[in-house]
Amino acid sequence: MKRVGVVLLLAVLALIWHERLALQAFPGILSAYSAKEYCSCRYVMNNPPEYCQGYVKQYLPLSELLDDPAHQRVTASGLGQSNSAAWGGPRQGCRLLPAQ
């Protein structure tokens, strides 16, 4: 039994090592998705703020969604990470800003 436990533990550790890049990136998905798609919903498609909040809503809740209309810049926070997207022009639309 003990040997099985050790093998299982090693297998889990190997899996974590194998997937380390994906696991590191995972917590950033929610805030990056929300910031980017809210920015585009609001400033490219010109939809109202209330609609865009519903539009980006996922099963996992955000801790914060900050829209700065003066700079057309959106910051979302969730799962311990923040990401921002900003509008860059009438043809360019929105883009995620480099991660802090």
């Binding site: 997937e19 890049l21 994906a22 696991l23 990136a25 995972f26 950033g28 998905i29 990056a32 998705y33 980017k36 585009s40 490219v44 498609m45 010109n46 939809n47 109202p48 609609y51 519903g54 539009y55 009438p90 043809r91 360019q92 639309g93 929105c94 883009r95 995620l96 480099p98």
Partner: protein, 365 residues
């Protein structure tokens, strides 16, 4: 010489008469609204059921626009989308990128057999992948396209939002291979963004950023288009083009008329034929459209019925996440744009096409 001029003049007159008999959009679409009928009501009932924004379940159409032979015969929108909303097209962007590349092809900038590495250096890691293979989503790269169900291992989520967002083509190029290039179909947003990077290499940075507008949108009178790029400046050819439903219908009319816009052959006829030819090594999947050259076809694959049984076999389409669709029905001279916000799988292409044919086939009268 005199006789030649008379012939030339007569030909010009005949051509002008022929061209003026065709209807094309100017600043707006000429309109010929379809009169109410039970068939039209049935289409509208299917596309626009009452919406529940709390559960987001069921069919959630944002826009439905129908063009018959160059005339707007039907349109309907669900708030907040309007006739002027530049709606996200998601993966319709891929077929738009292919159409922009068709103009570049007509300008002699590349051949289908050219190695991608000639135009995009990081693909020297995959020297045998040709432009044609990317257009067939057959690069052979080990890509995972799942969006929502396997976020940890989804290549496309990593590309758009995390590890790939700085340079999406380079992120794709760093993938390993699972198959010989050109031998098997695996739908990949990465392949589309490498095409976008290859176009950048063909044109140079200065011409590239405005090329979709100069090559395609302006000639067609499209004014609502937005196309977002990654941090390296490569247009997100896989996912991030926006335009109004009426403007997307202009691309549909261009394809309906085999790449010709009024008197100008914008896309070579053999380019459109390539878009509409099934990929030889594709395998049938029930209900899934057949991959062509960065467009989707209703052509049946060996041993299977056609993907949308109630639509003509010549039907082809550009399709995107959450129910975006541009359908072209050549024999019926119909172009249909359907924008949506479908968060489940309720919406069926076949059902919409079936009801649209009942409502409009025969001329929208």
């Amino acid at each position: 010489m005199g006789r030649y001029s008379i012939f030339a003049a007569a030909f010009t007159l005949l051509w002008a008469a022929h061209a003026s008999a065709e209807t094309w959009p100017g600043e707006d679409w000429p309109a010929a609204p379809t009169l109410p009928s039970p068939a039209l009501q049935s289409l509208q009932d299917y596309a626009f059921p009452p919406r529940d924004d709390a559960t987001r379940k069921g069919i959630r159409t944002d826009a439905l626009v129908v063009i018959h032979d160059g005339r707007l015969i039907y349109e309907h929108y669900a708030a907040p989308t309007t006739a002027s909303t530049p709606h996200l097209t998601w993966s319709i962007s891929k077929s738009l990128l292919a159409t922009v590349m068709g103009v570049a092809y007509g300008e002699g900038r590349f051949q289908l057999q050219d190695p991608v590495a000639r135009y995009y250096l990081p693909f020297s890691a995959h020297p045998r992948v040709r432009i044609e293979d990317l257009l067939h989503w057959a690069s052979g790269l080990d890509w995972q396209e799942d969006y929502e169900y396997a976020p940890l291992n989804s290549s496309v989520v990593a590309m758009l939002y995390t590890r790939g967002r700085g340079d999406m083509a380079a992120f794709t190029a760093a993938h390993s291979t699972y198959s010989e290039p050109g031998q098997s179909f695996r739908y990949s947003s990465g392949d589309s963004n490498v095409l976008s990077a290859a176009l950048r290499g063909m044109l140079g940075n200065d011409r590239y950023a405005d090329y979709p507008w100069q090559a395609l949108f302006e000639p067609l009178g499209i004014r609502s288009a937005v196309w977002e790029s990654d941090a390296s400046g490569t247009l997100v050819g896989s996912s991030y083009a926006y335009m109004s439903a009426r403007d997307l219908a202009r691309v549909g009319l261009l394809m309906l008329r085999d790449g010709r816009w009024q008197q100008r052959q914008l896309l070579p006829a053999n380019w459109v034929a390539f878009n509409r030819a099934p990929f030889a090594h594709a395998a049938a999947e029930p209900g899934e459209a057949t991959p062509g050259g960065h467009w989707w076809l209703n052509q049946p694959l060996a041993g299977a019925i056609r993907p949308w049984p109630d639509a003509p076999v010549e039907t082809f389409a550009a399709l995107g996440h959450w129910g975006q669709a541009l359908y072209i029905l050549p024999a019926e001279k119909l172009v249909i744009v359907r924008y949506g916000d479908d968060r489940d799988a309720s919406y069926q292409h076949n059902e919409l096409l079936k009801r649209a044919l009942a409502a409009f086939a025969g001329g929208g009268s």
